[in-house]
Each structure stands twice: as structure tokens, then as C-alpha cells.
């Protein structure tokens, strides 16, 4: 006797003898079933290594079976392998670890997360529809998907969300911020107060029982709330039913700091629940960017459990999509990628290792400027030119001149479609669809489409960088180089077309160009974009026509511009601001707010001349702020500087403000990690005693003071940033390296 259920898949995780599978059944019930399942991995090697391996497997006394098989390796074709089946998924990591100690073996499919492997194999995915046959005691006989994660339209079943956070300002509680625990479901909310920890835990448990939420959505749950709650529960010996699965508690992962794109990033450890999702909005890049709809989108496409997708990098999602594609194609997934870069001559290295083209803008302010952007340039190039690990320098197209990549000694396959272009083409098409739907809808519906396309945008952005990254399974530095070489070629083609049409290129940055021609209108720029599409085969669109735009000079080299520092206002009144103080995370709100008021004044104007006429009004704003500063009318939160720790705080050179503040936090009992942000106020930067130079915002004493001179200087600099390019006269701006004559008073 079995029963059939139609449901949405909620979560999967390994248990003894199979996978626990949580379902949101169509009748509204939440079901926990178990699917007996045995994960498999493969290895290959010389005969003596294989003999050693099978001896070891026998000695392990783990529930495994091994048999010879033939499988496909992306680069080597069909290979003879041994297939190992582990009948208890919980034993899988142990078996792999033991075998991996043997030398001379090549392993496949051994370091994929078990939930992912299960989902790939059964074509299932989180929140996907499925049909299940189960026995009365909750064992799954059969489970089959009813839809595909690539379906563009899908609905998410209603989920109960319980929100948990500390009341008030969402400052990092690990740095000393303390407040009352606040809980909310469906508009009903309450502050959890209790005389004793036991009262607090009891009332939280009551909320969990009453609402049985699917999602616990917290602020600082991973790094603060859950660890504290668990400790309270342990101390008071009370149950804390955070997980829905009564047989499983919480799983934790340690926090880590890692380096990416030259920046140190900190991720708090995770508290994963079973049968219920814990999502920490302060510990999820995807949630911050694209909220629940974006998170669900990535979870579905990557076939990654939602709690994992929330805490992982977009790179992991892309990898998972590629692994899934490989799984479906029957391609083995290599472990410890053993494919180093092929040797290059020094000359080739110079030619290939260059990244996108980065011009220095012509410093100054200009009217009637058009900005043209290539849409998702790198993914578009990878798709259009078929860039993938196995298509770069393929043996079959070596003699075909049409396969060469301009400017570098690589060529791309013209016969076989690559693995990565196949994945990316689907993502690009999907994003285009969601953008179309976003334009055609309103309200909540529009928001869902917008969040989904935002999540996909990040896949495009990251997919390129990932090809050059050592941890990418199907990446390779040569593929990365082909992409950047083609991007340079296409940007130069765009420049050639524009200059032939009489435009002057004020600036160009990887995939965007800023152009000017007297009298050019939006229609002219649109026509130019069509000519560039013709010349490059890549989509390029008019981002907008600026009434005026200003390119800001470098602070260290005032005669030269900076690639990504400018501000301007489009014809429709919207503005674009990049790289100036306002946009920087470490600018105190006082300075950012003043600069933003100044820009509001400047952006009201219709022409560059009118903007220049606003200079005295801008100076008045600076004056007002300086007076407020001198008369101590500023509030502490306006002065807070937020800096990301780039190293362990104890290793900082003593005396720099962030080190002083970090030291105070450590003394107050906080734990700090590289990549984490700390907040402080500068009290007396010139003091001989380092401890007097700054104070951590979380430790602000009642009799606090601030460094007037230092903050006044920041205000003046922020004003300079805006006025310097505006003051350049037309004549000076024409000549790139001649300092302009002042057209207004210098800031006082």
C-alpha cells in the first residue's frame, strides 16, 4: 500500500540510509519522508593504485560496493573508472576522506554536496513541484519532478515567515549593541520579555508552536541570536524547537574570512535548521541584493537547498549549475582540478594578462554627453564566441583562421558548443524575459520579476570572473583571457565607429563609453548604438544622454582623471554618481548628507552653465555645515566612520583610528574578524596618545567629543570633489593636462 502526494519540495538533507525529504503538500501539510538513496563517486588510476584502493575499501568495513565502469571526462573522453556506491549517505564523507589519502588516483564526483547530488540525480530542486509515492511509514518509493527549474513562470507556495530581530537600530550586536528580542508573524508582533531566560525561551517556543513557521527570518541570527539562544537553552536545560524535525537539532558552520577581488570578506557562520529554513538577512549577499524571490530563483536554478544558497557566493550557484549540466550530460566532475595553465612565453603573458580596457577620462565637466553600455558584456562574449574550457585551443580548429582571438595567441572552437556557453545562454535569455515582464507589470508582480532578474544579473557578472579562478571546476585562465581580449577588441571597435561618426570619446571603461558631439540628440546616439551592434555583434544600448557630466580628478595625481569617479544628470532628471565620497562606505553620514544636498542643487539644473552658476549656493551649504560642526550641533551618528577590517585587528599598526577602535571593542569583549566592519568616531587624530584618537561607536561614553578639524577637512574635500571639475573652463578641459583656471571662489 502506498499513497501518492503532489507537493512542492521544501528541503533535503542526509540521514541514516537515505535522504530526509520535506514536502509542502498541496493540502497544506508539511511532510517529512525518507528516501533510501546511495550516493556514488568514481576513481581512476594505474593498476597498482587501483589494487590498493580496493584493499582499503574492503578494510573500511563501511557499506560500500565497487564495480568497474566507463564514463566521460570532459577533456580526456571516455575513461575506465571504478564506481563506488555508499549505501549510507552519512558514511560518504568518511569513505572519500580515507580513499583520498592514496596517491596516484584521480577522483570524480566526490566533493559535491550530498543534497545537490541527490537533487541533480532525481531532477528535483527546491520549491519545485513533484509527485511522490510513499509507504505508510514515510518511506519514499518514487519521487518525480513535475516541472523544470528553467520554467520561466512559477509560483511559490504560501510560506509562513517568523521574523526575529533585536529592537531598534540594526547595528552589529556582536560589537555591544543590546536590545529586546522582537518577534513578528503576519502583522502580529511582540517584544519577548521575560523575567528569566527560561521565560524568554518559553515564550519563543510558544510562538514557534502556534505558527509553525516555514522560515525564521532574522537579523544577526547566524552570528548572534541563535548562538545566544542555544547557550541559554543549554544553561537552563530547556528545549528550543528551532528545527521542525524533532530528530535533528541545528547544524552550524564556522565563520570564515576570505579574499575576493582584492577585498577581505567576512561571512558569519551559519545556523542551519532541519525542516525549516533559517535565513539571516545580515549574512546573505543574495538576500541583500534580490530578497526572497531572487534567493528562490538561484536556489531553483542551482538545485541548492535554500539555506545553503542564502549563505553561499554567487560563484557557488554558477558552479552548481555547471555541475548539474555536466551530470545531465553524463560528464564526470573532476575533484581537485589538476589542470594548470599551459606554459606561455613572457611575451604571450604580457599580451594575454590584461583585463578590460580602462581609459582615464578627460577631467572636467561636459554638456550633452551620451553613455553607451554593452549589455552584460562578458557573458554575452562568452556565449557569442563560444568560450569554455574545452573550446579554447581545441585541436580541431587550430588551422581555421576564423577561430583566432584577436590580439592573443589563442583560438576558439567553431565546431562544438561549449558547456559554459550552453549554461550562460539560458541564463541570459531568462534574464531578458524577466526584464521584459518587469516592464509589462506593476506592483508586487513587478517586484518579483525585478528581484529575479537582479539575481540573474549577478550570475552573469560572476560567471566571467569565475573562469579565471582556481576553484572553478570548468574554468581555465585561457578562457578568461579570450573573454577580456575580445572585450578590448569590441570596445575599440565601438570607439572606431563613434570617432568615424564625429564623436569625441571622453571616457571608456571596459564595457561603457562616454561620447560627445556638438548638437547630438538621443536619436543620434540611438543610431550610433545600432551601428556599433552591427560592427561588434554584441548588444549595446544608450544608457542615457546626460544634460551634463563631470569627471573628477585623482586626489594623488590631480592632473589625471580616475576611471570610475564621476557625477552627472540625465535628460530625464535621474542622476548617476560613482566613486565620490557619497558612494564610499567609509564616509561619515555628515559628509555624505552634505554632498548629497549639494548634488541635489546641482542636478536641478538643465545645462552645465546653470550648474556652474550654483557654485556659490554649494559653498553656502558647506559654510552651514562648518558652522554646525563648530557649534557642536552634530549628533554622534552623523560622525560615524565605518571601516572594513582588512586584517586581524591585533596586527594593525598601532595608532590608526580603526585599530584604536578595534582595540576598544576587543577590550569590551567583542570578537572581530577580518572583513567585518567596525564603526568609530575620530576624537583627536593628532593626539600623542593613540587611545585618544578615536572611539568605537558601540563604546561611546557620555562625555564624548570629536575632532572638529578632521571633520571640517572631510567636508571641504567633499565640496572640492564636486567643484574642481565644474570649475575647469571649457578651454582648459579641452587640453587634458592643463590645470584649469578657477572660475569661482576656493572653499574656505
Amino acid at each position: 500500500m502506498t499513497r501518492s502526494v503532489h507537493a512542492h519540495l521544501f528541503d533535503v538533507y542526509p540521514v541514516r540510509g537515505g535522504m530526509a525529504v520535506w514536502l509542502l503538500a498541496d493540502d497544506g501539510t508539511r511532510l517529512r519522508l525518507v528516501h533510501p538513496w546511495a550516493p556514488r563517486f568514481y576513481y581512476a588510476g594505474r593498476r597498482d593504485a587501483l589494487r590498493q584502493a580496493s584493499a582499503l575499501l574492503r578494510a573500511l568495513r563501511a557499506p560500500v560496493t565497487a564495480r568497474p565502469a566507463t564514463r566521460y571526462d570532459l577533456l580526456r573522453g571516455d575513461v575506465a573508472v571504478t564506481e563506488v556506491t555508499v549505501t549510507n549517505p552519512l558514511a560518504f564523507p568518511r569513505v572519500v576522506t580515507r580513499l583520498a589519502r592514496l596517491d596516484d588516483l584521480v577522483f570524480y564526483n566526490c566533493d559535491i554536496g550530498l543534497p545537490q547530488m541527490y537533487l541533480y540525480e532525481h531532477r528535483l530542486f527546491p520549491l519545485g513541484r513533484c509527485a511522490v509515492e510513499a509507504t505508510p511509514d514515510g518511506m519514499i518509493r518514487e519521487i518525480a519532478p513535475l516541472d523544470s527549474p528553467w520554467d520561466q513562470e512559477y509560483t511559490v507556495p504560501p510560506l509562513t515567515v517568523l521574523r526575529l530581530r533585536l529592537e531598534g537600530d540594526p547595528a552589529n550586536p556582536n560589537h555591544g549593541h543590546r536590545a529586546i528580542l522582537h518577534v513578528a508573524v503576519d502583522g502580529e508582533e511582540s517584544a519577548l520579555t521575560g523575567e528569566t531566560p527560561a521565560d524568554l525561551l518559553a515564550s519563543l517556543s510558544r510562538w514557534l508552536h502556534r505558527y509553525d513557521p516555514d522560515i525564521l527570518l532574522t537579523e544577526w541570527g547566524d552570528s548572534f541570536l541563535f548562538p545566544r539562544l542555544r547557550r541559554l537553552a543549554a544553561l537552563s536545560r530547556l528545549p528550543l524547537p528551532l528545527s521542525r524535525d524533532p530528530q535533528a537539532g541545528t547544524r552550524t558552520r564556522r565563520p570564515r574570512s576570505y579574499m575576493t577581488y582584492g577585498q577581505i570578506v567576512y561571512t558569519a557562520g551559519g545556523s542551519y535548521l532541519h525542516g525549516r529554513w533559517h535565513l539571516d538577512t545580515t549574512n546573505s549577499f543574495t538576500y541583500e541584493e534580490a530578497e526572497l524571490p531572487g534567493l528562490f530563483e538561484l536556489s531553483r536554478l542551482g538545485r541548492l537547498p535554500v539555506q545553503h544558497a542564502a549563505r553561499t557566493s554567487v560563484g557557488t550557484v554558477i558552479t552548481s549549475m555547471q555541475l548539474d549540466q555536466a551530470y545531465q550530460d553524463g560528464i564526470l566532475i573532476p575533484w581537485r582540478k589538476s589542470r594548470p595553465e599551459a606554459f606561455k612565453s613572457a611575451g604571450d603573458l604580457l599580451l594575454t594578462d590584461r583585463g578590460g580596457l580602462t581609459y582615464m577620462p578627460l577631467v572636467g565637466a561636459y554638456g550633452q554627453v551620451g553613455e553607451l553600455d554593452f549589455a552584460a558584456m562578458y557573458p554575452a562574449i562568452m556565449t557569442r564566441f563560444n568560450i569554455s574550457q574545452e573550446t579554447v585551443n581545441c585541436p580541431c580548429c587550430r588551422e581555421d583562421p576564423a577561430s583566432r582571438v584577436p590580439g592573443i595567441p589563442h583560438h576558439l572552437c567553431r565546431r562544438r558548443r561549449g558547456l559554459i556557453p550552453r549554461v550562460l545562454a539560458r541564463v541570459l535569455a531568462r534574464r531578458a524575459y524577466y526584464k521584459e515582464r518587469r516592464a509589462a507589470t506593476t506592483g508586487d508582480e513587478r517586484h518579483v520579476y525585478d528581484m529575479r532578474q537582479t539575481a540573474l544579473k549577478w550570475i552573469g557578472v560572476v560567471s566571467f570572473g569565475y573562469q579565471g579562478y582556481k576553484n572553478a571546476r570548468f574554468g581555465q585562465i585561457e578562457a578568461h583571457e579570450c573573454t577580456t581580449a575580445l572585450s578590448r577588441e569590441m570596445l575599440l571597435r565601438a570607439k572606431d565607429v563613434a570617432e568615424a561618426e564625429g564623436y569625441r570619446m571622453l571616457h571608456a571603461l571596459v564595457d561603457s563609453v562616454w561620447l560627445q558631439k556638438p548638437g547630438a540628440t538621443r536619436a543620434d546616439y540611438e543610431a550610433l548604438a545600432r551601428m556599433i551592434v552591427e560592427a561588434t555583434g554584441l548588444p549595446i544600448a544608450v544608457e542615457g544622454v546626460y544634460r551634463w557630466i563631470a569627471f573628477v580628478p585623482s586626489r594623488t595625481h590631480p592632473l589625471v582623471g580616475v576611471p570610475n569617479r564621476f557625477f552627472g544628470v540625465f535628460e530625464d532628471g535621474t542622476s548617476k554618481v560613482r566613486g565620490i565620497e557619497l558612494r564610499r562606505g567609509d564616509t561619515p553620514p555628515l559628509v555624505a548628507a552634505m554632498q548629497s544636498r549639494m548634488l541635489a542643487l546641482l542636478f536641478q539644473t538643465a545645462t552645465l552653465e546653470e550648474a556652474r552658476a550654483q557654485i556659490p549656493a554649494v559653498m553656502d551649504l558647506l559654510h552651514d555645515e562648518l558652522v554646525r560642526l563648530r557649534q557642536h550641533e552634530v549628533r554622534p551618528e552623523e560622525l560615524v566612520i565605518r571601516t572594513v577590517l582588512s586584517q586581524d585587528p591585533r596586527e594593525y599598526e598601532k595608532g590608526v583610528p580603526q585599530a584604536v577602535a578595534a582595540h576598544q571593542l576587543l577590550q569590551a569583549g567583542a570578537t572581530l574578524h577580518p572583513g567585518e566592519a567596525i564603526e568609530y568616531i575620530i576624537t583627536n587624530a593628532a593626539s600623542r596618545i593613540p587611545g585618544e584618537r578615536a572611539v568605537a561607536y558601540a563604546c561611546l561614553p557620555g562625555d564624548w567629543s570629536y575632532d572638529e578639524e578632521r571633520y571640517a577637512r572631510m567636508l571641504r574635500r567633499a565640496t572640492e570633489t564636486l567643484l574642481t571639475p565644474l570649475r575647469r573652463t571649457a578651454e582648459a578641459a579641452r587640453i587634458s593636462l592643463r590645470p584649469g583656471k578657477a572660475a569661482g571662489p576656493e572653499p574656505t
Partner: protein, 88 residues
């Protein structure tokens, strides 16, 4: 992501650092001109990076010459304009 080859901006900075003793020995009134030459090198760094010469200082020198030639052209144009003005 580590880079095997430094960026053109980094190369120009290290060239400028390498010429620091030269700059130090110059008279104060000569230094701004040298600084402008290095500013020129920075300004054309996209082109210098694109050409990817084995000896990057070649591209740096050419960038400096380019800016100097542009100054000459500008001055020539101004002289021509002044000459063609009817004398009083």
C-alpha cells in the same frame, strides 16, 4: 584574484618611484614639468596597457612625447592665430 602581471597604473607608479632620486636632484622649479610628464604617462595608460610592450618604459616615454607634441601643436596653432591677426 591574483595578477601575474602588474597593471599599467602600477608599472607607472613604480617607474616614477624609481626616478625619485632624479627628481630629488632637480631644482625645485624643474620638478613640476617632470610631474606633468608622469601625469601624461598615466593619462595614456589604456593605450600603453593595450600595446603590452616587453619594456613598458618605451610606452611611458612615448606617452610623454605624445603629450609634449600635443602642447607644441596647441602652441603652433596659437602662434598662427596671432600672426594672422592684422597688425595695428
Amino acid at each position: 584574484m591574483g595578477r601575474t602581471v602588474p597593471t599599467m597604473t602600477q608599472i607607472i607608479q613604480s617607474e616614477e618611484d624609481g626616478w625619485a632620486p632624479f627628481r630629488r636632484a632637480l631644482r625645485a622649479q624643474d620638478r613640476p614639468a617632470l610631474d606633468r610628464l608622469f601625469a601624461a604617462a598615466r593619462h595614456y595608460s589604456a593605450a600603453a596597457s593595450y600595446v603590452a610592450r616587453p619594456v613598458p618604459f618605451d610606452a611611458i616615454l612615448l606617452s610623454m612625447l605624445l603629450e609634449a607634441m600635443k602642447a607644441i601643436q596647441r602652441l603652433e596653432a596659437e602662434v598662427d592665430a596671432l600672426r594672422s591677426r592684422p597688425s595695428v
